[in-house]
C-alpha cells in the first residue's frame, strides 16, 4: 500500500505560479525529477478551476449532492474538481491504488477537500493525513533528522525574502523558530510563508542536484 500511496502523493497539478488555496505550483518544473528520484510514475493535470468554494466545509450538506457531479448547476469550476479529474486518471492507470496521501499539517481546508474527492464513489481511496495536527516544531526536527533535504524555493512570509531562497530546512530551522516567536509564523510554513523543493529524502533512490 505504501508504494501505491506514493504514486498519488507525487501527483502535482501543473500550472504556472498562481494563487491557489489548494496546491503548490511553484517548482512544478522540477516535479518530474522528484518522481524519477523515487522511481515512481507521475501524473499531471492542468488546474482549470479556481477557489470558488472557500468555506471551511466542502460539498453540499444536502444528501447525494457531490460538488463534482453538481458542476452543471454552478457556473464556475472549483479547483478541488481538478483533483477529482487527476485521481480519476490515476485510477484508470492503476486500478489497485488504495490510498491517497495528503500532506496537510494544519490546514483543515486542504484535508476536507482531499477527503471529499478521495471518498467519491468512483475514486474510493482511503485518505491518509498522518501529518495533520502534528506539532510543527517536532515535525521540522524529525524531517531534518531523517535526512530529508529540502530547499526553500518560494518565500511569502514576514521576515523571509530573496536571501533565504535555496537554503535547506536545516539551515533555516533557527530562523523559523525566531520568526515563530516574533510573528507567530508557522514553523512548517502552513500559513503559506514558504514553499520547498525536496532534493533528497530516505525515499529517494537518487538525489536531485541543481
Amino acid at each position: 500500500m505504501l508504494s501505491d500511496s506514493f504514486v498519488n502523493n507525487i501527483c502535482r497539478l501543473l500550472s504556472d505560479e498562481i494563487d491557489s488555496y489548494m496546491y503548490q505550483t511553484v517548482g512544478h518544473d522540477a516535479v518530474h525529477l522528484v518522481a524519477e528520484a523515487m522511481g515512481i510514475p507521475l501524473y499531471r493535470h492542468v488546474i482549470t478551476g479556481t477557489a470558488v468554494n472557500q468555506a471551511s466545509e466542502y460539498g453540499s450538506r444536502l444528501p447525494g449532492a457531490s460538488q463534482a457531479q453538481d458542476k452543471g448547476k454552478s457556473k464556475a469550476k472549483d479547483e478541488t474538481e481538478d483533483l477529482y479529474e487527476l485521481l480519476l486518471q490515476v485510477k484508470k492507470h492503476h486500478p489497485d491504488v488504495e490510498a491517497v496521501s495528503v500532506g496537510a499539517i494544519l490546514s483543515n481546508y486542504q484535508r476536507v477537500r482531499v477527503e471529499h474527492v478521495a471518498l467519491l464513489p468512483d475514486i474510493n481511496m482511503v485518505p491518509l493525513a498522518f501529518l495533520w495536527q502534528r506539532s510543527q516544531r517536532e515535525l521540522m526536527d524529525e524531517m531534518i533528522e531523517s535526512g530529508l533535504e529540502a530547499i526553500i524555493i518560494k518565500t511569502a512570509g514576514a521576515g523571509l525574502g530573496e536571501r533565504d531562497l535555496g537554503k535547506t530546512l536545516a539551515q533555516m530551522r533557527n530562523k523559523f523558530h525566531l520568526l515563530h516567536e516574533k510573528y507567530e509564523s508557522h514553523i512548517c510554513g502552513e500559513g503559506g510563508e514558504y514553499e520547498t523543493l525536496t532534493l533528497d529524502s530516505p525515499l529517494f533512490k537518487r538525489r536531485i542536484k541543481l
Binding site: E17, G27, D29, A30, L33, E36, S56, E57, G59, R61, L62, P63, G64, A65, R111, V112, E115, H116, L119, V126, P127, L128, A129, F130, L131, W132, Q133, R134, S135, E142, E145, S146, G147, E149, I151, I153, K154, T155, A156, A158, G159, G161, E162, L165, G166, K167, T168, A170, Q171, E195, L197, D200, P202, F204, K205, R206, R207, I208, K209, L210
Partner: protein, 259 residues
C-alpha cells in the same frame, strides 16, 4: 545514529547549494519591504546516484504525544489499583430495555428554544433490512417536514440496532441520507429486546427566526474521514464532533469506543 548517519547529516548541512546558482533563476514576484514574494525558477537540474549505505533508516514518531501519554499512564495506574471484581461489572443492556416504553410507530417530537428532538423513529414497512432502513428515513423526513424542518438541521443522531451485524448494511443507506459534515452519532446494539431492527432518535438545532443573523457561521463540524494520528477513527458516516450555537457553545460528540 550510526557513523554513516552522522556523515550524511554533516554532508547535508555543509552542502554548497549555491555552487550552481546560474542554473536557477530568482524571480521577485511582488516586492515589499516586509514580506516580499520571491521564488526560484529551476532551469536545469539532474539526478545523481547516492550511496545506498548512507540512507538513514526511517524513524516512526511516537504513537502518543506527551499529553496523551500522561493520560494513558494515569489510566493505567488507576486500572491496576482498582480492586479485581469477580462478578460481572456491567448489566446486560437488553435487561434494561425490556422496559422500553414504546412499541408504537409514532415518532415523538419536542422543541425547546432553538433545539428540537425527535425520538422513536422507526420504519413502517419491513420486508428487508434495506427497505426497513429506507422506510425509517422516510418517516424521519415526513416528520421533519411536518414541522418545517430539514435533515440539514439534524446535529446528533442516536441509532439503536438490534444487532451490530447490521452495522455495515445500515450505514450504506444511512450515509446517502446526509451530505458533507453529517451529524455526530452514537450507534448502540440493544439485542433482541429492541422491537425493530433499527430505531433512531435525532437532536437538531435551528435558530429561531428572530435571532437569525445573516452570514454568521453557527455550525462547525469536525469530520475527519482520513487516517491520522490525531483524530479518532471515523468508522461510520458521522462527524466526530459538531459545534452549534457558537454564542452559547454546545458541542456534540460522537460516541467513542476503544477497540
Amino acid at each position: 545514529m550510526s557513523a554513516c548517519g552522522n556523515l550524511c547529516t554533516f554532508r547535508i548541512i555543509s552542502d554548497k547549494l549555491f555552487s550552481c546558482r546560474d542554473e536557477v533563476e530568482t524571480v521577485i514576484h511582488s516586492e515589499a519591504a516586509f514580506a516580499s514574494v520571491s521564488y526560484l525558477r529551476i532551469k536545469t537540474a539532474h539526478l545523481e546516484d547516492k550511496d545506498p549505505a548512507c540512507v538513514a533508516p526511517l524513524i516512526c514518531p511516537p504513537e502518543l504525544d506527551e499529553l496523551s501519554e500522561e493520560i494513558f499512564q494515569a489510566l493505567r495506574k488507576l486500572h491496576s489499583s482498582a480492586p479485581e471484581s469477580t462478578s460481572a461489572p456491567y448489566r446486560h443492556l437488553s435487561d434494561e430495555v425490556a422496559a422500553f416504553p414504546s412499541s408504537s410507530s409514532t415518532p415523538n417530537f419536542a422543541r425547546k428554544g432553538d433545539w428540537f428532538s425527535l425520538s422513536n423513529i422507526t420504519a413502517t414497512t419491513s420486508t428487508s433490512l434495506d427497505s426497513e432502513v429506507e422506510s425509517l428515513f422516510a418517516s424521519l423526513e415526513s416528520t421533519l417536514s411536518s414541522h418545517n424542518l430539514s435533515s440539514e438541521r439534524i446535529q446528533h443522531v442516536n441509532l439503536y440496532l438490534r444487532s451490530m451485524a447490521d452495522f455495515a448494511q445500515v450505514n450504506a443507506i444511512y450515509k446517502t441520507q446526509f451530505g458533507s459534515a453529517p451529524p455526530s452519532r452514537a450507534c448502540i446494539a440493544i439485542g433482541p429486546a429492541l422491537w425493530k431492527t433499527a430505531v433512531m432518535e435525532v437532536m437538531g438545532w435551528q435558530r429561531s427566526e428572530k435571532t437569525e443573523s445573516d452570514g454568521m457561521e453557527t455550525r462547525k463540524a469536525l469530520h475527519v474521514q482520513g487516517r491520522s494520528y490525531w483524530a479518532p477513527a471515523n468508522i461510520g458516516p458521522y462527524s466526530q464532533s459538531v459545534i452549534v450555537s457558537l454564542f452559547r457553545f454546545t458541542q456534540l460528540l460522537a460516541a467513542q469506543m476503544l477497540i
